[in-house]
């Protein structure tokens, strides 16, 4: 499994020739605010039914939330209940919500199609939890870790990227609900009060570009 890991530094070492045909170029960090929904037509697989999907088909009338997450990361797990609650809640308010698992499962049975489908069901996700089997959607976003959220407005322009809130370990001690505040602002047609945040997180285990 370790050999399958690919950090940002490793991407920078991949030769340009390997990236030409299929994979979008590696991006240093998340795409800039104002960027139109990247990778919108790249292939994803909805874990719940195994069918192909794209972000372009999952956008909402008021905005779109894309969260890169996975099943095995302690940080993603710590925030999972809160993110799912936000996703379920704002999906009913005109936000298209998609969770994306871009981890190359390698030999890890905790990731991959079956585990992701099980996760979506057990956590009662009322939106797609999709596999990014090539990791190309994550590359297009410049996503690096899990969980990492990207929120787009009704025109599909990026208005927020970053973390969920300011306390992964202790939900009761959260003082800044960055993503919730951004979602509410987008639903109201306003700019998020905070547009970019950071957090510690697990590096995405990228599948090698082909």
């Amino acid at each position: 499994m370790l050999n399958g890991l690919c950090t940002k530094m490793r991407f920078m070492m991949i030769s340009a020739a390997m990236l030409v045909a299929v994979a979008p170029p590696a991006i240093a960090g998340p795409v800039a605010l104002g960027t139109k929904l990247p990778g919108a037509d790249l292939a994803l697989k909805n874990a719940a039914d195994g069918k192909a999907m794209t972000l372009a088909k999952a956008t909402g009338t008021k905005g779109t939330l894309v969260v890169f997450t996975c099943n095995d990361c302690p940080f993603a797990n710590a925030w999972e209940d809160r993110i799912v609650e936000l996703g379920n809640g704002y999906a009913k308010q005109g936000i298209g919500v998609v969770f994306v698992n871009a981890n190359n499962p390698g030999g890890n049975k905790g990731e991959g199609l079956a585990a992701t489908a099980k996760r979506a069901k057990s956590r009662h996700m009322q939106f797609p939890y999709a596999l990014d089997e090539s990791s190309n959607v994550a590359r297009a976003f410049g996503a690096e870790r899990t969980p990492e959220a990207f929120l787009f407005d009704k025109d599909q322009k990026l208005v927020y990227s970053g973390t969920i809130d300011d306390n992964s370990d202790e939900p009761k001690k959260v003082t800044k609900q960055y993503l919730k505040d951004a979602l509410q602002a987008v639903v109201n047609g306003k700019a998020p009060p905070v547009a970019e945040t950071k957090s510690l997180g697990c590096g995405i285990k990228f599948k090698k570009a082909s």
Partner: protein, 161 residues
């Protein structure tokens, strides 16, 4: 006699399980800036972080090669506070007996306080000179030879009058 002394020191080091101290950014930076080192290498990691675990042997090789030459290695774990025994056991297994912390406090303050260009993805290694000035940041797996070159330069610089 000298060989016996080295062996004894090595045995003593092997037996010591590092105390892992919960610490905020300021406490960690105080350790980085504490006088007495020619260079300080700070690494942020976690026991559940696969690439962090993967690079630990390289990090320990740098530590063991340079600790008596003036390099201080400071490890900061992002594991939950409840995992301090696991962190300590892991570091003992790798023979680390230097300063070790469990990060507490706000993530953004911590990340930006170390290096504003760092996204928060682990592992990350930051190299400081003897005055506590950051000179390099490596995000992702370290290149042991590259880090050694930078450490050598700082140790040499510290020796130069």
């Amino acid at each position: 006699m000298a060989a016996l002394s080295v062996a004894t020191t090595a045995q003593a080091r092997k037996k010591i399980a590092p105390v892992v101290v919960p610490a905020d950014l300021q406490t960690i930076l105080s350790e980085v800036r504490r006088p007495g080192a020619a260079a300080v290498l700070l690494n942020v990691w976690a026991t559940w972080c696969d690439p962090c675990v993967e690079e630990m042997p390289s990090l320990m090789a740098i530590y063991k090669r340079n600790r008596d030459l003036g390099l201080r290695v400071v490890l900061v774990s992002a594991d939950p506070r409840t995992q301090s025994k696991k962190v300590s056991a892991f570091l003992a297994k790798h023979g680390f007996d230097g300063p070790s912390f469990l990060k507490i406090g706000d993530d953004q303050d911590f990340i930006n306080g170390l290096d504003k260009t760092w996204s928060g993805t682990m592992p990350v290694s930051l190299l400081f000179d003897g005055q506590g000035r950051r000179v390099k940041t490596w995000s992702g797996l370290i290149d042991q030879a590259l880090v050694q070159t930078e450490v050598d330069a700082l140790i040499l610089k510290a020796k130069t009058p």
